[in-house]
Each structure stands twice: as structure tokens, then as C-alpha cells.
Symmetry: C2
Subunit: 349 residues, 2 copies
DNA sequence: CTGTTAGCGCCTTCAC
DNA sequence: GTGAAGGCGCTAACAG
């Protein structure tokens, strides 16, 4: 029914082994023979059977990219960059790898599920992007999976995610702490002393680290934080809207709001405006990530740029073995404060 | 080295076939036996070998989702919805399917490549999203691939993409024409008579259809179009910026600009503002898609909402055989004009 | 309900 | 440089 490698061999009048060799190109084959085989492949419209190939070779061309939320440009941009480095070439059969992105939706179970599925497929590599969940049992389960993946020859790279020791996984981390410190430092430098914070989900490392940076900046400036000044939410616009509304209800004297990321910041801006306040005259707002839309909201968002595309490209290359892993298996990628119109001096109280 | 199904069988003191049966759950197995097997699986930390399974069963749990640009929220939102319907359950082994998104980057070659890769993996289903390229040879190649995929048991669904006849592929199309007609009609209703258009890539169906709708509206209102009023570009912000700059250079008397989509519209707005013009007092702007950020730009974008999440969910269900395909294999999804602040009456010339 | 028996299609030593 | 043969790990008829 379906045409197999044997059919191609018959038509090209060579052995199946030879066909396999020209297809995989890992072995010397005489030019005329190769020609003949390639022609037969073309004429028969032959397509290699991936599963059979993977079974025999004990490895596949699949590369998995795990993201927390594919609808979020943060992950879209990262995934796009990773994938561009991988989809290119270099696989076993025909020089092609199937880079696929898997959307965990932020759910630990789905994350584990995908990892298992990828392990089951004998993936060539796996790249996990974005913050991790700090829950100990889950972290242990993930660590175990990653270790096992590594043992069975799957290269594991973490991008924008903290390292997982003793798993052989290479990590490219983002300096969330430093970036947050810079953003809050900028606000403090402008004279703000009453800063609200709409943080992300409390269980994610990204949230923890950004919050830590924020607090470090406050502490360094000798500003004592009021517990009412922090609310947690998700990494989306809506959380920003609700968070800021709550914050300003609790303490209308706040003069600035630090948001978990740009999407949240945009929601914060909307809430601030709906309260009849101006940005930045009445309330300054900062974001994080510098996604494309941050330039177009009005006023432009002061934020911390993370070079997502570069980081993703690098992670992709490491996953393909085309770039050396950073020393110690961990490399940190810095953020850069970008000052735009959403921040200014605090209003005279 | 790695633990196989036979190992599990030995430990559970049953035959490999029985283990396979409890794992796939498509066959009656006595409860105590199942228990024993499951325990053995757990104790041995066994993971099914996907390739071997796919080879033997001649089908896999992989479902491919092709997108033109994963960094674009349009595709991210769609993919997320599709994937949520697929990743859930219903696969062969353990009730799980591996929904993966493949980023073609808008390249016809990559599209074909991914289709081949997916065919090679014996994917259970493939969903192609977004506009197609009209180039005849490529269209024929894609049609041939889709037909072949269908023949080998892969379900093919098109989402937001025109039908491909005689391939067995189910299509869910977006009413780009009608939506564009509504947007331009809205502008005409406000009194505009000199409308620029920053279209998308000329070779994409989406561009063609939206442009057709725009022109139909103009024709219906008896407005004759000046050839200088249309420029083509990509579906991104930058194209919008450049396109609008060019348009207003060519004809400064334009009072409105229709953009290919929301990202482009945002770029158009930036260009208009950089020219010292106000929106909508001097120039009205419309987008298309109603992506989340369209609400946050200032003024809010008048646009055509496409229910991406609903469409994606439906496509996902059809791909999984959990929802019936529309009659004739083609279903159209309508768009809805959303009027916000970016459109208003034309300035008095 | 469970065991036995054949392959699924390809890769990879070995010989030549 | 090329052919022959065995097995990768699992599933799918058949029997029983």
C-alpha cells in the first residue's frame, strides 16, 4: 500500500541498506548510485517512515519546545527564535528536524505530561522556556524527568528558567532580579516612595525573582514596604486591571505601580485611567519584558527589555549542539531598563 | 538498558500483549491483572516507546498545528485554542495526544517541509491555520500533500484558510471579505471618500480577500479608487508604519487608512502621529482581527473581531473527530465590526 | 479474558 | 562501496 524503503531499493536496483545510507547521508555512497536512489525516491514519491526510523535508530528528529502560554507574545517570540535555529537543518534523515512547540498553559501536570510524551517519542532535544513552578514535589518530578531525558540522550536546555542541578540540563537564565531592581530604582530615583506592585502568580520563579529585585531596591533606598502594596495575579492584562484597582483602593496615595510584565502593565494603565488618574502625572507605571506593543500604548511603557529573540536563538543552537553551553552549564542574560513616557516624577502629595 | 514492555510483562507475570492492552485501554482486561500491570509500570518507571508503538500500530499520537508566525498573537491565540481541545485526551496510549505547533514563518517551503515531516511521523491529524499562498505551483503541491495525508488516515483541518477541493480537508474559513466590507462601509458611512489601504503580502489569500471586501464597499458607495491609495507589506507593525508614511506622502488628502490587521493598524497610527496628525480628527484608522492589544492603544482601534479562540476550538474538535464537520466540508465564520475611538468623521477639507 | 505468533519499516553491524 | 541478516519495541490477529 504505502511505498517503503524496499520499494525504492527495488526500483533503484540496490539494496535497502544503500537506500538508507543515501537518505541519511552519514555514509559514503558512490555518486551515480546516489543519483539513482534519489531518482527512485522522487518517482515513487517515497516518504520515510519516521516511527520505523526512530525505532531502529533509537532516536528521532523531534525537538520539543515547552512554553507556558503560547498566546502570550513573550513565549511566541522566544519559541519563534528557538525554532528558527532548529528547523533549519542538521537532522538525521534529509537534514531536517521537526521543531514543535508544546503549550503547557502554565499547568504543572501538562508540563510533566508533555515531558513524558517527548520522552516517549525519544525527542532529540527539549527546550523549556519561561518561569518554573516552585512547588517542591512538582519540581522534584520535573528534575527526575529531565535527568531521565538526559540519560537517554535527549539534550535539555532551559531558557528563561532557573537551572535544575544534577540533571545535565543547560540553563540560560534571565536577570529578573536585576531588571526589577533597575525598574524600581528608576522610580525611586524619580522621587517615588509609595510604590504598589502587581506581581504575577506567587508560585512562579519569575514572580519571586522580580519581586525580590523590587524589594531589594526598596530596601537599598530605605523605603519600608507596606504589605498592602503588593497583590498577586496572573501574567495578563486583566490581572493588571484588577490588581491596580485593588491597590489604589487600598491605598490611594500610591504614586507608582510596578507591574509583573508588560501585559499586566497595560492593564494597570487602563485601571489607572478608569479611575480618572493620569499617567505619569498622577501614577507612574513600569512593565517588564519590552514586548512589541509596549511601544504603542500611550504613553509608551517604561520597562525592562529582555532580549528574547537572542536568548531563544542561543538556546536553540545549544539544543542542536551548534553552540557550546556556557561555563558551568548556566548563563545569565541581562535585562536593560528602557525609559519611556509612563514614568515621571511623583505628584506633589 | 531502557526498560521495555517485556520487562513490565515479566514483572507483572503476564504476557506483553496484556501489558499493551492495559496501556492502550482499548481492550477488556481483568481488574486485578490491570492493577498488577500498572503497579509494575510504576515500579519500573516504564515509558512507552512512541516510535515502536507508532510503527506497529501504523499511526501516532502526534497532531500538528501549522501557523504562519508564532510570534503573532493572531496565531498564538488560535493555536492555543486548538491545542486545548487536542491535548486533553482521547489518544491511543494513555489517552494523550501530543499537540504540537509548527511555525512556517510564512514560507511555502517550510510549510511543505512540515507537512512532509508530519506525514513521515504518521500524524493523527494536521490543522493548518491562517491564510494560504496563492502561487499556483505551491498550492498544487500543498493540495497533493493534503490529499496524501488524508489517504493515509491523517485528518486535515483548515482554520482561517480557504478550502482545498478534492483533498478531503475540512475548512473553517473567516469572512475576510465581509469583515473588510463592513469596516470600509463604516468609514464611508462616516463620510470618508479618500481612503488609503495598507494591505498585507499580495500573495496571501487573506490579503486578497480583505482587499476585495474593501473594494466592494468602495464600489457600492460609488467611490472611485485611486491606484496610489493601496500599498502592500507584511502583517506587522513596521509595515503599517512604512505603508502609512508612503500613503500620506503620495496623497496627503487621505482622511482614513484601512489596515490589513491590527498590528499593521498600530503601525499606521504611529506613522500618522509622527506626521503630526491626530487620530481620528485628521485621519481615521481601522484594523482587523481585534487582538487583545487593540483595546489598549490610544485611541482604541476600530476593527473587525474574528472569534479566533472559538474557531480554533472548533477546528481542534473536528480534528479529533469530536465534532461533526460542517456541511460540504466548509464552514464560514463571521467577523463583527467593533467601533472604537480610532474612527470618526473626516476633517473638513 | 489472556497467551502466542508474526510482523510493522528501518538501521546497522558484519561480510564481501 | 555495497549486500545480507538480525533486531529495535510494540501491536494485532489468532487461538485457547
Amino acid at each position: 500500500m504505502t511505498v517503503t524503503l524496499a520499494d525504492v531499493a527495488a526500483r533503484a536496483q540496490v539494496s535497502p541498506a544503500t537506500v538508507s545510507r543515501v537518505l541519511n547521508g552519514n555514509y559514503p555512497v558512490a555518486a551515480p548510485t546516489r543519483e539513482r536512489v534519489l531518482r527512485a525516491v522522487d518517482e515513487l514519491d517515497y516518504v520515510l517512515n519516521g516511527p520505523a526510523s526512530a525505532l531502529a535508530a533509537a532516536t528521532s528528529d523531534l525537538v520539543g519546545i515547552l512554553v507556558n502560554d503560547i498566546a502570550d507574545p513573550f513565549f511566541g517570540i522566544t519559541a519563534s527564535a528557538i525554532q528558527a535555529e532548529i528547523g533549519g537543518a542538521g537532522g538525521r534523515a534529509g537534514g531536517e528536524r521537526l521543531a514543535v512547540v508544546c503549550n503547557t498553559g502554565g499547568s504543572p501536570e501538562r508540563e510533566l505530561k508533555y515531558l513524558t510524551l517527548l520522552q516517549r517519542q525519544r525527542a532529540a532535544a527539549v527546550v523549556l522556556t519561561g518561569g518554573a513552578v516552585v512547588d517542591a514535589p512538582h519540581a522534584a518530578a520535573v528534575a527526575a524527568k529531565l535527568r531521565k531525558l538526559g540519560e537517554t540522550g535527549t539534550r535539555v536546555v532551559l531558557c528563561g528558567r532557573p537551572p535544575v542541578p544534577d540533571t545535565g540540563a543547560v540553563a540560560l537564565t534571565f536577570d529578573n532580579r536585576g531588571g526589577a531592581r533597575a525598574a524600581t530604582g528608576h522610580l525611586l530615583g524619580l522621587g517615588h516612595r509609595r510604590l504598589g506592585c502587581v506581581a504575577g502568580p506567587p508560585e512562579r520563579t519569575t514572580t519571586r525573582h522580580r519581586l525580590a529585585g523590587h524589594r531589594a531596591a526598596l530596601a537599598a533606598a530605605g523605603v519600608e514596604e507596606d504589605p498592602r502594596w503588593t497583590v498577586y495575579g496572573r501574567f495578563d492584562r486583566r490581572s493588571g486591571y484588577e490588581g491596580a484597582s485593588e491597590l489604589l483602593r487600598r491605598d490611594p496615595s500610591l504614586t507608582a505601580v510596578v507591574a509583573a510584565n508588560d501585559s499586566v502593565a497595560v492593564g494597570v494603565c487602563a485601571a489607572v485611567r478608569d479611575l480618572g488618574l493620569r499617567i505619569p502625572e498622577d501614577v507612574s507605571v513600569t512593565g517588564f519584558d519590552d514586548l512589541p506593543f509596549s511601544l504603542d500604548v500611550v504613553p509608551g511603557l517604561t520597562t525592562v527589555r529582555i532580549p528574547l529573540a537572542e536568548a531563544g536563538a542561543r538556546a536553540g543552537r545549544i539544543a542542536m549542539g551548534r553552540e557550546e553551553a556556557p561555563a558551568g552549564g548556566v548563563g545569565e542574560i541581562g535585562g536593560e531598563l528602557v525609559v519611556r513616557g509612563s514614568t515621571g516624577a511623583p505628584r506633589a502629595s
